[in-house]
């Protein structure tokens, strides 16, 4: 496994600044948020109670849990709705461009001279970026656990651990997809466009059932219950399977994700990984 060390060494040397910001950037944002929330809780104690009393149907649409007496926990809940999308997008971009750039930098020849072929490059880069994602998530978990303890919200530790654990698994699934995208693209820009399209499209399609349900709830809440609201609810139930399309939403607290989805995710990861490995490793360096 010496090739892994070499690839890791090159990746760290080339991208230490980027890695630093990927790992510590979100930590700094949360730290800042925590300080601001402490100040708001101290100087405007009613702020949390006033503005975080959203209707249940909205919370359900956003896949959120119950509100907390601490402003920081509530804001953290809102932030973790978007963070999975950001994380998987960044991870997919980094892992794919990292594989593609070896060709652009003309370093594949030199790596081949070192006994590191295309397949080894892909494996090592995949491991590296999964590792970076894992470390980043671990740091965030520790940081937020500390904040939760400071706020005496120990009950949230389990939620947080579950959330970051699920998110790591989701990162691996989408990272496998990123490797697959990288395996047949020659330019990073082309690959990035497709990844962005994939992440956004799958997200919006997967939220379609929740949106139909929200519409139905709005109709009922405004005294317009009838066949339309019933049909919308039935459609939402029928299309619920679409939720499987966007793994980042699986981590949301109130998202009721069947265990089969996680098994499907693992299977898709293996299929995508093997396909990427096979496609990328099939060609020789100079072909």
């Amino acid at each position: 496994m010496a090739f892994v060390k070499t690839i890791f060494y090159y990746e760290i040397t080339r991208k230490k600044k980027k890695m630093f910001w990927h790992i510590l950037g979100p930590c700094l944002v949360y730290a800042l948020l925590f300080l601001v929330c402490l100040l708001v809780d101290k100087f405007a104690p009613d702020f949390n109670n006033t503005y975080f009393r959203w209707p249940d149907m909205v919370k359900e649409f956003l896949g959120m849990g119950s509100w907390n007496r601490n402003l920081y926990i509530n804001l953290w809940q809102l932030s973790v709705l978007c963070y999975p999308l950001y994380l998987v997008y960044v991870l997919m971009i980094e892992v794919s461009s990292s594989v593609i750039e070896e060709k652009r930098l003309e370093t594949t020849v030199y790596l081949h001279n070192m006994g590191i072929g295309r397949r080894k490059i892909m494996v090592a880069k995949g491991l590296f970026w999964f590792g970076v994602a894992g470390v980043g998530l671990l740091v965030l978990l520790v940081e937020n656990a500390v904040f939760a303890l400071i706020l005496q919200a120990e009950g949230w530790l389990i939620n947080m651990s579950g959330y970051y654990g699920k998110l790591f698994f989701v990162s691996v699934i989408l990272g496998g997809m990123g490797l697959f995208f990288a395996s047949y693209h020659k330019k990073e820009a082309d690959c990035e466009e497709r990844i962005l399209g994939f992440v956004l499209l799958s997200f919006f399609v997967s939220r379609l059932p929740a949106f139909l349900k929200l519409l139905s709830e709005i109709l009922i809440a405004t005294d317009r219950a009838g066949s339309l609201s019933d049909n919308l609810r039935i459609l939402a139930e029928r299309f619920r399977v679409l939720e499987i399309l966007s793994p980042p939403t699986w981590c949301w607290f109130a998202a009721e994700i069947p265990g089969e989805y996680w098994i499907c995710g693992a299977v898709v990861t293996v299929i995508m990984g093997v396909a990427a490995f096979s496609i990328y490793g099939h060609g020789k360096v100079m072909d």
């Binding site: 010496a2 090739f3 060390k5 070499t6 060494y9 090159y10 040397t13 080339r14 652009r104 930098l105 003309e106 370093t107 020849v109 030199y110 081949h112 001279n113 070192m114 006994g115 590191i116 060609g283 020789k284 360096v285 100079m286 072909d287």
Partner: protein, 285 residues
Amino acid sequence: MTEKELLCRIQEVTIPSGSDEILKEVNLDFERGTVVAVIDRQQNGGRLLQAIAGMRSIKSGQIVLADGLHKIQYVPDDIICYDSLEVGQFLKGFSINCKNVDLEKGLKLCQLFGIEEREQLLNLTFEQNRLVAMIQALMAEPQILLLDNPHNMISDETYALLTKEFETLKTNGTVILIASASFEQIGVACDTYHFMKDGMLYKSYKNDELPKPAKVLMVRGGDATAFADGMFELLWEQDEKRCYLSEEKAVSLAKKLQASNCVDFMVEQLSMDEVVYEEFERWHS
């Protein structure tokens, strides 16, 4: 590999490029401690080197390496590394993966060629970038060193320094295989020369068997056949008549032609490549 000194044998190797074949059923043997040149104006020698290094697919045939041979280094022709890594970091990564790589030697060679260890690869000149590739290969003390157009972008003075390193490797039993488009670039420093054309290997010479440089007599108009006299072979090319002959004969014939005052003629020096390729044309026709 049955022969004791044989490090690599190429058997009936055909290399594709799209739907074409750029090399067709090539057979070659490479012995330990030799410098071998593969000369091809169409630059397919480099493709052969890539196939030996395992970087290019072959359509048929096989490349057999001696038992236990695993240290093959390929130095590409015109690939310039645009990496943000520093030279020292780049070479260090190599030493992490390969136990027997001598990083100290690499850094000393960098000093010898005036390359700063802290300089980023993307800021190096073309020559320096190629030298880093050479240094990487030399650090590994390869059993087979594959050099694709090694003179390309490298000054004569620098190449002279590199040659000393190659000689050391050769003494240690390394096969150095050089691909070039021209004999003139390589010179007479190799032990064996293989000439290729149209994807085929058609002529091989040991160093002491190389054809002598020749003169060509070009006769335009007139009845040049009258001067043939069985002294030389006469070739027809469009409306020109070209005769290939030794320098001594060329001078003698030129005097006769001057005296005859009947034809327009000129005597030109042929390069070694032209001598060999003209031979190929005759052989091929």
